[in-house]
């Protein structure tokens, strides 16, 4: 596995914190996803080897949690809330704006790779809906115009190739 030195360091420090090595499977998967942007089959086998598990035991975990990704995503990750309050406040209208702006459907990645759009369940900010998460940042009280502007910025950054963050992940 071609992981960055600090990721490796973090992983090696994490494992001994648990009485049973296998308990470290979640933190390790998070670390790998932060490093690689997603969790490949190679990474699953690597984590399994590291913790003395069968690859399928790691695969179980990866497939159980929607936040573990098995395919690369766009440069930025947009998760739009679709739970009741946000939906009542126009969340689905925001979805349409996002789909138009990034020329892809919810659940897909923009053709230019600038972002991946996903639905999220409640992001715990119901009084300020609709809300979305842009990577690790919460954006509240969304308006259609504000979201168009946000999309323009993301696409522009992507076109310039400026390296504001790692490839499509939460770092």
């Amino acid at each position: 596995m071609n992981l960055r030195a600090e990721t490796m360091e973090h992983i090696d420090a994490t494992i001994p914190r648990y009485p049973h090595k296998r308990s470290a499977v979640m933190p390790l998967l998070h670390a790998v996803q932060r490093d690689q942007g997603y969790i490949s089959n190679e990474a699953i086998a690597w984590v399994a080897g590291k913790l003395g598990l069968e690859p399928v035991n790691v695969y179980e975990v990866v497939t159980f949690y929607p936040f573990f990704r098995q395919a690369p995503i766009g440069r930025r990750h947009i998760r739009l809330c679709r739970t009741l309050s946000c939906a009542l406040c126009g969340g689905f209208g925001i979805a349409e704006v996002l789909e138009e702006a990034f020329e892809c459907r919810m659940g897909e990645t923009a053709p230019d790779g600038s972002a991946t759009l996903e639905w999220a369940e409640c992001l715990a900010s119901c009084d300020k809906g609709p809300v979305l998460m842009l990577d690790d940042d919460l954006h509240e009280n969304l308006t259609e115009e504000g979201v168009r502007e946000l999309a323009r910025t993301i696409r522009a950054e992507n076109a310039e190739g400026s390296d504001s963050s790692m490839t499509g992940n939460n770092s």
Binding site: H20, E54, P55, V56, N57, Y59, E60, T63, F64, Y65, P66
Partner: protein
């Protein structure tokens, strides 16, 4: 017992059970999915909802899951209360929302727990109008068919396969409405208990692929109670047939033996009965040296046998550990006990005799699988249960939880509360120690392993006995690690409430068996009450054969040499599998005439003058004596077709034909058993293993066919529209038709599990005295070896340390669950799983001889040359090599033996 109230009626119930168990035991029909009597409760499926009331005053109550409610005095509940009933119907409706309703094309249809439960709850109208979720199925190997769309997410498959059987390649993936039970990628399910998924799955996700090749509905199959013929555990089975062939094997519950589960060898090995090389007609070989055979009429074959007998100076019989007790006894009776051989070479014969001796001397008699499951400290001395007695390995896998549960707070958690018990136990494991030359598939549970040569394993055993009780002789020159291990084992066994020592003939070492016996007796002397000795033997009737006390094959060779004997009758035994080919050739060529009886064509039958077609387990009635000395009767699901007869019946006819006994004296099973009981008092209880042929209920026989059997007239309509007279059965109280007693037969005669409303094998709970308890009216079989109390017995000498020898390797037998058993290896599905020939070698030895994995290794063992690719086994100690025993086509008999590497 606790008094509980269900729907206003008072009942007595077992307070160690949960409410669901209690309700089923009391005969209520309460639906369930995730609960399984052997797997316990997790309270996941919400199907067994009932309304529970606080007390007599409480009229509101609350809905609870019966499987999670402990039975307690004063418990009040209602099953029929409308809201609870509606709740159960709604749960089914949710579960069915994605179920494809493909019952007519589903193998499970007609014996489906999901169908039964749906009908039981009354859900009959579908409201779900949307597309159903669908999955891609996986190829799971030759045994199991996968159809994920039918899944209702009860999780029983992974709970059995992973938690219970220790398999790691079947898991639950994803979440929500797309949970997927399967492998990481397509491929063979590796665990040797995968076949139980067929019965564990409440619907048709996992079905029997061997049945699929010749499918028939449950209600269309004629079945009989049978006993597995593929190892000495003697799991009880139901063999089902249609159109004259065996279609499948199902588990038949035996409280003390197999419980709810079988191994894959036992479940899928049955198709050897239909293999192309089955013998169905008598054969004559005019010239034994040349491969010319003629098919003969039975009368012609009998005439030839009469000639052979009249010309013979002496006739000797070779019995077989895979032939029934009756057949072996009939043969012994035909030739006289002085000329009867057990059919084993001396090396196996001596080990088997030592094992039988140890069983007879065991303080409480030989232990059962149920004892193994309940043991809280286990020492396995010279056995590899996963491969030699697979079902035992499954029992031992459960045993390692007993010590942690017993230890502290665990004892307060009810045993049925699976989730809580597993959370409590976590990864803690009770003491299980394994002494075996190579690695085993129980090593992941072991608190300690000793991988060494057979004599070193025996020395460890004696050292354990000495550490438990200094009265046992000490072992000198034991190295430090072995002696540390011996004291750890001794401590664990002494501290246990129910210690167990497992040993057997796998390494053909009487010393190992003596060491195991010494340990058991040492425990007994030091006051460990429940110490138990569990004997492992290789073949279905090894113990029964040994109890007839025949001589080893080598004695027969001497008798041939001296001219005392010149004619052999060989019963269901391929002696080429027992002795090296040159030695077998000598026996064969010294015998002037050979008469062989077998169900399959073997190297031995190919060299016989007369071959008589004997029935397999499917065409025979008979008795096997299992590893614990329990005589168990198996009944034919098929009337013998063509010229096939039970071997004991053929031998009876030979006896009549040659004037050794009166006509008709041996033509019924009960007559053979009566004679056996007269001649061999120790074996007399075998007669009571099942009711005799005259047994009736209300004057009626017990039907082999279910009451809904169809096609009786049309089944032969391509030949004739006249329905033939049903075959008669003079040997058992069973009939071949659906006519007869409609109630439950005694457990030994149960041909299928069915009860009104319960079409699947889960109907079993109606056949037990309590859920997961003994069968109603007692479990079948008769124990022949009662045990000897705490009697002292002299132990044999402790073997000397194995000397270092860098010139030769010690070749030891190793075993393969798929391959080492002669009969199942002929079943196509099992044959797919047989590994390629190999010789296991320690990496250091391989390096020493300049060999790498896969390189061809040539060995000279005595007069036998063996050549096979090297398989590196880092767990194997240097100086040893492991050769799989009994593999089809290249069996290497007569191990352990010194082997020299030939370049």
């Amino acid at each position: 017992m606790a008094t509980i109230t269900i729907d206003g009626q008072s009942y007595e119930a077992d307070p160690s059970a949960n409410l669901l168990q209690a309700a089923l035991t009391l005969g209520f029909d309460l639906p369930y999915f995730c609960w399984h009597p052997a797997l316990g409760s997790v309270g996941a499926c919400r199907q067994c909802a009932v309304r529970q009331y606080r007390d007599e005053e409480d009229t509101t109550g609350q809905i609870v899951m019966a499987c999670m409610v402990p039975v307690a005095d004063g418990l009040r509940c209602s099953i029929v209360e409308p809201e609870a009933a509606e709740f159960r119907a709604e749960v089914i409706e949710w579960l069915m929302s994605n179920h494809p309703h493909d019952c007519p094309v589903c193998d499970e249809g007609g014996e489906c727990h999901l169908q039964d439960m749906t009908v039981m709850t009354g859900h009959c109208k579908r409201r779900f109008r949307f597309p159903k979720r669908t999955f891609r199925n996986q190829y799971l190997g030759p045994f199991i068919n996968h159809e994920m769309n039918r899944c209702i997410q009860c999780y029983r498959c992974v709970r059995f396969y992973g938690d219970y059987a220790g398999g790691s390649d079947l898991v639950a993936m994803a979440a929500h409405n797309h949970v997927y039970f399967g492998r990481h990628e397509e491929g063979i399910l590796e665990n040797e208990f995968s076949g139980n998924l067929v019965e564990i799955c409440p619907t048709g996700v996992f079905t029997d692929k061997t049945l699929k090749h010749h499918y028939s509905r449950k209600w269309d199959m004629v079945s009989s109670p049978s006993v597995c013929s593929h190892c000495a555990v003697g799991c009880n089975t139901i063999a089902s047939t249609r159109y004259g062939s065996v279609r499948r094997i199902l588990n038949r519950y035996h409280h003390d033996i197999n419980g709810y589960f079988l191994c894959d060898r036992g479940r899928f090995g049955y198709t050897f009965t239909d293999a192309a090389d089955r013998l169905r007609r008598p054969l004559l070989h005019p010239d034994r040296e040349r491969d010319v055979e003629t098919v003969a009429e039975p009368a012609e074959a009998m005439k030839r046998i009469r000639e052979i007998f009249s010309e013979a100076t002496g006739v000797a019989g070779i019995g077989s550990p895979r032939a029934s007790l009756e057949s072996n006894y009939a043969l012994r009776n035909l030739v006289g006990s002085g000329r009867f051989s057990s059919g084993l070479p001396r090396i196996e014969h001596d080990a088997t005799t030592a094992l039988l001796e140890a069983m007879r001397n065991a303080p409480d008699g030989p232990g059962s699988l149920r004892d193994a499951e309940r043991a809280d400290a286990v020492l396995i001395l010279g056995e590899d249960p996963n491969n030699t007695a697979p079902r035992l390995a499954l029992a031992l896998r459960q045993s390692v939880r007993n010590e942690p549960i017993r230890a502290d707070a665990g004892s307060r958690i009810p045993r049925w509360h699976d989730r809580a018990i597993r959370d409590f136990v976590q990864d803690r494991k009770g003491p299980l120690f394994i002494a075996w030359p190579a690695s085993t598939r129980l090593d992941d549970l072991a608190a300690g392993t000793h991988r060494a040569a057979p004599d070193e394993i025996a020395r460890l055993g004696f050292a354990v006995a000495h550490a438990i009780d200094p009265q046992s002789p000490a072992v000198t020159d034991l190295d430090d690690s072995a002696s540390d291990l011996a004291s750890r084992i001794a401590r664990a066994l002494k501290e246990a409430d129910r210690p167990m020592v497992v040993s057997g003939t796998a390494l053909r070492s009487p010393a190992i068996i003596a060491a195991a016996a010494a340990t058991v007796h040492a425990l007994r002397r030091t006051g460990s009450g429940g110490s138990s000795f569990l004997a492992v033997a290789p073949e279905a009737n090894t113990i029964g054969d040994a109890m007839l006390e025949g001589a080893p094959l080598e004695t027969l060779e001497q008798q041939l040499e001296s001219g005392e004997v010149d004619t052999l009758v060989i019963l269901e035994n391929d002696i080429y599998r027992r002795l090296p080919a040159p030695a077998t050739d000598r026996i064969i060529s010294k015998a002037r005439r050979i008469i062989a009886l077998d169900s399959i064509a073997t190297a031995t039958t190919n060299r016989a003058d007369v071959v008589l077609p004997a029935g397999s387990f499917a065409e025979s009635d008979g008795t096997f004596v299992n590893h614990e000395g329990r005589a168990q009767r198996f009944f034919q699901p098929l009337p013998p077709a063509g010229d096939v007869l039970e071997a004991w019946r053929w031998i009876g006819r030979i006896a009549a034909e040659t004037g050794t006994s009166k006509q008709n004296e041996w033509d019924r099973l009960d007559r053979v058993l009566t004679a056996l009981a007269r001649d061999c008092p120790e074996l007399a209880p075998a007669r009571d293993a099942a009711p005799d042929a005259a047994f009736r209920a209300n004057g009626q026989r017990f039907p082999r066919a279910p009451r809904r059997f169809s096609g009786r007239t049309s089944i032969l309509s391509h030949l004739s529209v006249h329905e033939p007279k049903p075959p008669e059965d003079s040997d058992s109280p069973l009939s071949f038709t659906m006519e007869g007693h409609s109630g439950q037969p005694p457990a030994a005669l149960v041909s299928h599990y069915w009860s009104p409303g319960w079409n699947s094998s889960q109907a079993l709970n109606k056949f037990q005295s309590e859920v997961a308890g003994p069968a109603r009216g007692g479990d079948p079989g008769a124990r022949l070896i009662p045990g000897n109390g705490p009697n002292e017995r002299p132990s044999t000498a402790i073997p000397a340390p194995v000397p270092d020898d860098d010139q030769t390797l010690l070749a030891v037998p190793c075993y393969e669950v798929f391959g080492s058993d002669e009969l199942s290896a002929r079943a196509p599905a099992v044959a797919e799983r047989i590994p390629k020939p190999y010789v296991a070698l320690a990496p250091t030895d391989a390096e020493h001889h300049g060999l790498d994995s896969g390189d061809s290794l040539n060995l000279l063992i005595g007069e036998l040359r063996v050549s096979a690719p090297v398989r590196l086994d880092p767990k194997l100690p240097p100086g040893l090599c492991g050769i799989p025993a009994g593999m089809p086509g290249w069996s290497v008999p007569h191990l352990p033996a010194r082997a020299s590497v030939v370049t």
